[in-house]
């Protein structure tokens, strides 16, 4: 269990604007993803836990150990923190073989055990064939597995992974996910994973924390966070939502109904508890929940006319971009049927509408 509540102000530098990191998070066993755009402070958070810089104030606890405590001035040096860190570019020592890299990290164990541990790790991460080679002589997958093995060999109490999938092609990425699932199953180490890939959160994470501008803005299981973004910013970061400025013009709790004016469109949605008539809100609806059809004559309820600007082929679907900033994602088969439509109508399913 890792608990972090720290603050650190980074003054402006010639090459970077000032930044303030104020994270408050905790993570238990399993994989916790730190999700956010570049510059949100994800890597800085890992660096703070690993002890690469001293926060201005706050506290970092790992299990029962205090790693950092502002008021009492406790700051455990990085080498005693027992947080395995897998760096973005692996940081395998280029002048050592993979075996030597592992042995370097096993130095804390007694001599006899060291040997056994290194061999065990080489075995477990399928590195036997490459053990005698240097990092620049082995494949990307081997480097990646070696860096994870190296971080784990000292039996850390926490594993920190900084965008391990960055720059990997699809097969390597799949291998990495398999390795990480293996690590989660075989080692009882909590894992903090930095990523800016939503799919990766779904693939690996039990919990996700959304970071924005140095702060945790939402946390929870990925499914829940993705379904219920807490703010427009979060919805925007997730990248799976239509966000349209709107105004609530009617609210009827009895019939669980509401009416929303969204530009020129007049839509009905479910009742929004805690909102008032006249509230200016963001209408928030997932791209794949919009239905599209050929427009013939009158528009039905919750249907709006829109002009198709662009269609984009996605791996499993087709994304349609309409006028008025509306995006819909439909299955490929559906697109094949409809692609000759002259005019388009987009329906907003009443139950799918949310406001933020």
């Amino acid at each position: 269990m890792i608990q972090v509540r720290i603050h650190k102000a980074f003054p402006a530098r010639p090459d970077s604007a000032s930044f303030s990191l104020a994270v408050d998070l905790q993570a238990a066993a399993g994989v916790t993803a730190l999700f956010g755009p570049s510059g949100a402070g994800k890597t800085l958070t890992l660096d703070a836990i690993a002890g690469f810089f001293v926060p201005d104030e706050g506290r970092i606890m790992l299990d029962d150990d205090i790693l950092f405590d502002g008021p009492s001035g406790v700051c455990v040096p990085p080498r005693l923190r027992r947080c395995g860190y897998v760096f973005q570019n692996y940081a395998l020592f280029p002048h050592m073989t993979l075996r030597q890299n592992l042995a370097f990290a096993a130095e804390r164990s007694p001599r006899l055990e060291r040997h056994r541990k290194v061999n065990e790790m080489l075995e477990r991460f399928h590195l036997n064939d490459a053990a005698g080679r240097r990092p620049h002589e082995v494949s990307g997958g081997q480097k990646q597995r070696c860096s994870i093995a190296r971080a784990l060999i000292g039996s850390p109490k926490l594993l920190l992974l900084d965008e391990p999938a960055r720059g990997l092609d699809a097969p390597l990425r799949a291998d990495l996910y398999a390795v990480l699932r293996q690590v989660r199953a075989e080692f009882q180490t909590p894992i903090l994973l930095v990523t800016h890939d939503l799919e990766e959160c779904f693939e690996l994470a039990d919990e996700m924390l959304i970071l924005r501008q140095g702060r945790v803005v939402q946390s929870g299981p990925p499914r829940l966070v993705a379904d219920r973004p807490a703010s427009v910013e979060v919805a925007r970061l997730l990248g799976i939502y239509n966000l349209l400025p709107a105004e609530i013009v009617e609210l009827d709790p009895q019939r669980n109904l509401s009416r929303i004016l969204c530009g020129e469109f007049d839509l009905s949605g479910p009742y929004f508890p805690g909102r008032f008539r006249g509230d200016r809100v963001w209408l928030c609806v997932r791209t794949e929940q919009l239905a599209v059809s050929e427009r013939d004559g009158r528009l039905g309820p919750n249907q709006v006319a829109a002009q198709l600007l662009r269609s984009v082929d996605m791996p499993h679907s087709v994304r349609l971009e309409f006028s008025g900033d509306i995006r819909a994602e439909i299955p490929r088969a559906e697109w094949e049927k409809q692609k000759h439509n002259k005019e388009w109508a987009v329906s907003f399913p009443q139950d799918a509408l949310r406001v933020l």
């Binding site: 080498r79 860190y85 940081a91 020592f93 130095e107």
Partner: protein, 222 residues
């Protein structure tokens, strides 16, 4: 003409010993300046560069005062070894060290600072002490540049004149290094000897530069 090769051998011996000693001291200073933040760091930084800007005679004078037979350091040395330090060939080693250390520290520091700090972080993260980080990671990663620096330092120690003549003197057969011998030969009107020694030292210097260059370029392409 029989030529006295003693100054050349003395110079090579002094240079080898001075290079070794200044490498130890210089690497330590470079490490401190590159990695540690401590009070007086800037003063140390300036002090290291001082021999570059002071006239050699001034530096020699300071050393004479500092290491002379009446000084505490000089007396300590005499008590330890049984003979005074000044005007001995060992004093020439000290002189050569002061000639080489500024260059050595500045270049070694640049070499250490050019090592990707992620590797050092990784090493600390894996439980290594600062000592181990330096010997097992920083130094091996910078080894080519440091080797090149050592070779250049050797060339520099070979060529000291001013400080050597101040604290080691010009005693033929005892403290007369090649740079001093050349001066002596010119003074005595022995043009042939001066020419010969100048050619020898130039050839050695050029060879050393070639080696250092090769070390640096091999690193760049590796």
């Amino acid at each position: 003409m029989s030529i006295d090769w003693f100054p050349l051998w003395l110079s090579l011996r002094v240079a080898a010993l001075a290079t070794l000693l200044s490498l130890l001291l210089g690497l330590w200073l470079a490490y401190l300046l590159a990695n540690r933040d401590f009070r007086g760091r800037e003063a140390l930084d300036a002090a290291v560069a001082l021999p570059l800007v002071l006239p050699p005679t001034v530096l020699g004078y300071y050393l004479l005062v500092l290491l002379g037979r009446e000084s505490p350091l000089g007396r300590l040395y005499e008590w330890l070894t049984g003979s005074p330090l000044v005007f001995s060939w060992q004093a020439a080693v000290v002189a050569a060290m002061f000639h080489a250390i500024p260059l050595l520290v500045i270049s070694a520091r640049a070499a250490l600072e050019s090592v990707d700090h992620t590797y050092e972080r990784a090493a600390r993260n894996l439980g290594a002490s600062e000592w181990r980080v330096f010997w097992k990671v920083s130094l091996p990663l910078a080894r080519r540049s440091i080797l090149a620096v050592a070779v250049l330092a050797f060339a520099r120690t070979l060529g000291d004149f001013g400080v050597t003549i101040m604290i080691a003197g010009n005693i033929p057969g005892r403290t007369q290094t090649i740079a001093v011998a050349i001066y002596d030969a010119v003074e005595a009107g022995n043009g042939a000897l001066a020419r010969l020694l100048v050619i020898v030292i130039s050839v050695i210097a050029i060879a050393i530069l070639a080696i250092a260059n090769r070390l640096v370029t091999r690193r760049a392409t590796a």
